[in-house]
Symmetry: C2
Subunit: 248 residues, 2 copies
């Protein structure tokens, strides 16, 4: 049976309450100051692959949208990540974080030591948005509903526990606090407007679950490779390597 707008929104929010990656133990370690410098670096290296994927995902979406108004509304997401005028963009801000944790930013940007499981998960997201309905594509972006809280916790936890953390290093997360709510307010309304049958509601909910899987799988891979018992797969970044040359 088709749910009311309110019921369906509650269903989407419940998916976040049950499956969003703020519940993954890696975030407890990270925000609680119990990550080693190399575990923080591994997170920065791998999460960069996700950042790198997002604007391609948004371009893939726009390439399938025939309505100029929807494309115009969506375009700011690419600007937020790639930069626009005075705004250097989220990818550049992520590389500042790479600098701050002592990594060679060229190595991070080249994405060489990224865990295969991270690549597979992020690439699956890009393909999902390329291949599925527009409704599923928009619904898969709604994990941003749950992001502001984790970003606020992260800023607080990193500032409190790690020497590298300062306003410049954490500018990515600070900025997302204002960008994400704007994007997700639009996306949520669009999904609620367009998921007007049970079949579409089920597909949109499944798309949001898929996206929570994409995020969770990245942290599982990170935990498995770099936490305990650490087991780095062939080709993964080796702790202590590709550190930034420090100016004298």
């Amino acid at each position: 049976m088709t749910q009311t707008r309110e019921e369906f929104e509650a269903r989407l929010r419940q998916i976040g309450a049950e499956r969003y990656h703020d519940k993954h133990p890696f975030h407890d370690l990270l925000h609680g100051g119990r990550c080693t410098p190399d575990q923080v670096r591994a997170w920065v290296i791998n999460r960069y692959y996700y950042q790198h994927t997002i604007p391609m995902k948004d371009a893939a979406f726009m390439s399938r949208v025939e309505d100029p108004a929807l494309r115009r509304a969506w375009r700011s997401r690419i600007e937020d990540h790639d930069g626009h005028g005075e705004n250097e963009g989220g990818i550049e801000r992520w590389l500042r974080l790479a600098d701050a944790v002592g990594l060679d930013r060229a190595y991070v940007a080249a994405r060489e030591g990224v865990l295969p499981a991270t690549r597979f998960a992020c690439d699956a997201y890009l393909r999902f948005v390329r291949d599925k309905t527009l409704l599923e594509a928009v619904a898969s972006s709604l994990t941003e509903l749950f992001a502001p809280k984790i970003h606020a916790n992260r800023i607080e936890g990193l500032l409190q526990h790690y020497d590298f953390a300062d306003e410049r290093a954490l500018s990515y997360f600070k900025r997302r606090l204002s960008e994400a709510p704007k994007d997700v307010a639009f996306g949520l309304q669009w999904v609620l407007d367009h998921a007007d049958t049970q079949e579409k509601q089920d597909a949109a909910a499944a798309a949001l679950e898929f996206k929570t899987d994409v995020l969770w799988a990245q942290l599982d891979a990170l935990y498995s490779a770099y936490v305990t018992p650490a087991r780095i797969p062939p080709g993964g970044w080796q702790p202590g390597t590709y550190l930034r040359a420090v100016a004298a």
Copy 2:
């Protein structure tokens, strides 16, 4: 510099020596009899997703091949998995293994509790074969060069250590001992014939590395979810569920 045929073959075999998943600790547990029944079941459930993907991967390959002789040579792979005449096929034989370890085969065939990371890895393989050059697609199949040894070890280890293991339960692996060498002999010759520049050799080697990542990532996900410390991601199969009704 372009390598000689012999040098290039040695390079491909070296990739297996360094990265093939026979080196993953999950296989030590499995073949050494140190998996619990539920860990064996988790392996059977997740590896089924790989089995399910393979004939689609081979069909994707054939859909891009213009040469009837190459398609004809490749077609037996699909028959080996899906069945042909008296041969029930590898997928059916895998479901016999599911029966033998006490799982509900309909649940296994529905692929519901498969780990997201398993899906992402196998789907990445299917997309790789759809999107890359034919040379890279064939090269990615060459992990079969390294498979007969692991299948022989597995048959021996499972028979020795687990009550469920008998000829019927293990017929998948027994059969692959004769099928895989035939396929891979063809694939290896094709790759050696066609990788006639350094650029192509590098691409073929990278494709084989990619495939070892696909296999390794599946075992990492399994180990992370079901071995120690077990951390099953949202939606993953829960131990003790979906067991086969036992006849009175």
